[in-house]
């Protein structure tokens, strides 16, 4: 921190010569906090630039692809740097400018609706978002799920290029594409059979947009305590929406050990127990 600062006792510094200096100061202030700064910058200026760059039409067409035109606005929305109202108005302004029909922006408006929905639910449920909303539909009792995340996952050495890549990205940048979050969450809960709460807490440690409501209720959706059935995916699905980037370099993809290389019927039979009702 700059020596020129003359702050009242206990006030934290506000002037830094560089991000490196900011990071060094934060390490002193919060010695318990692990890791480095994210390459994604906080602040209104960065948020405004990201908002100006949105393309709701392309978003609607490509959002489920890892390379799709997603907005990446979530960290700033989560902390109110951008309000949902502001983003909504920007989307409507884009429609007017572009002359596109409302349909072109429908997916993005829908996704903003998800954010609003999670917040309304949180207001209603409070800390209840940490408890199962409904019984699991996996055929496994809650006590059959581990309480802690396995070390190989946290160290990004599962041997599965996709999952290890997602973990590294989460730990390094604090942001993951929504589809990657779903695949990773499904792997944790259904393949590794870990309680969704452990995964939810882990995501909240790292995600810049870590919002307990959106995060926990989405984990519950994957786990099936807030949906009618568990969310499973297979290799075809992951390979398609990641343009094959992981499978191309993954040993498990070629030596027959990929745990996702199966039909949905086969995965259900292998991963889910007998229905409990």
């Amino acid at each position: 921190m700059r020596s020129g600062d003359s702050l009242p006792p206990g006030d934290l510094p506000r002037q830094f010569a560089s991000r490196t200096e900011l990071q060094a100061t934060l390490r002193q202030l919060f010695p318990e906090a692990a890791g480095d700064l994210s390459p994604i910058r906080g602040g209104r200026q960065a948020a405004a630039a990201a908002l100006a760059a949105i393309d709701p039409g392309a978003y609607g067409r490509s959002r489920n692809h890892l390379d799709g035109a997603v907005t990446r606005l979530s960290p700033w929305i989560r902390h109110g740097v951008l309000s949902l109202v502001e983003v909504r108005e920007e989307v409507f302004a884009w429609l007017e400018r572009s002359g596109q029909p409302p349909q072109a922006a429908a997916k993005l408006i829908n996704e903003l609706g998800w954010r609003d929905y999670w917040q309304r639910l949180w207001r209603q449920l409070g800390d209840g978002i940490w408890r199962d909303r409904e019984p699991l539909k996996t055929g496994h009792a809650p006590e059959h799920y581990a309480n802690a995340l396995p070390a190989d996952l946290l160290e990004a050495r599962t041997g599965l290029a996709c999952m290890d890549g997602f973990v590294q990205e989460l730990h390094t940048t604090g942001w993951l594409h929504n589809h990657a979050r779903m695949w990773l969450a499904s792997y944790v809960v259904h393949w590794r059979r870990v309680r969704w709460q452990a995964g939810a807490r882990w995501f909240l440690q790292h995600l810049l947009d870590g919002d307990p409501a959106s995060n926990n209720l989405s984990w519950q959706w994957v786990a099936s305590s807030f949906s009618s059935k568990p969310y499973l995916f297979n290799r075809d699905n992951l390979e398609r929406f990641s343009s094959g980037r992981y499978c191309r370099v993954c040993r498990a993809a070629t030596d027959g050990t990929c745990p996702f290389d199966a039909s949905y019927e086969q995965l259900q039979a292998a991963l889910l127990g007998a229905p409990s009702c």
């Binding site: 202030l29 919060f30 318990e32 906080g42 948020a47 902390h79 997916k107 609706g113 609003d116 909240l204």
Partner: protein
């Protein structure tokens, strides 16, 4: 309230914060809550992102107990109350109560994304969306376009 201070929290770090809009120039404080950071084991990435957001706001930064720090800041400025914006996190209400035990606290509501009549059925997103979607598009002067639901969207 004649001389309020503003309590800024992590759900409202932008210019739409109704406390900042209502009281431009009033002393404002944000507290990095020691307990929350330790309990949630937050990474430096998250704290750094928050910090960078705060560096672009006219706000004093503190680290410690959320309620105590706001009260200390209010005393330092001779304030007769605290103005803040509504938050969804249940921790907010607990902090508000502790502050309100010593000083009046005014909570301002941000503009809602969509205004909907209560009670609202939130059992599933689809039930919420049946009410929200037409209201949203009415604002844009358009009818709600059909959006096919795809399971892996969420």
């Amino acid at each position: 309230m004649l001389r309020p201070v503003l309590w800024i929290h992590g759900e409202a770090l932008g210019p739409a914060n109704p406390a900042l809009v209502a009281h431009p120039g009033a002393p404002a404080v944000f507290v990095f809550d020691r307990d929350l950071i330790v309990q949630a084991d937050l990474s430096l990435k998250r704290l750094g992102f928050l910090y960078e957001c705060l560096l672009e706001l006219p706000v004093t930064l503190r680290h410690g107990d959320g309620a105590e720090e706001v009260l200390t800041f209010a005393r330092r400025h001779g304030a007769d109350g605290v103005v803040t914006s509504a938050a969804v996190d249940p921790r907010f209400e607990a902090l508000r109560e502790r502050i309100a035990a010593q000083l009046p606290v005014q909570v301002l509501e941000p503009e809602p994304f969509v205004e909907l009549p209560e009670p609202l059925d939130l059992g599933r997103f689809s039930r919420y969306w049946r009410r929200a979607e037409p209201a949203l598009w009415a604002r844009a002067g358009a009818a709600a376009p059909p959006v096919p639901a795809r399971r892996w969207d969420r």
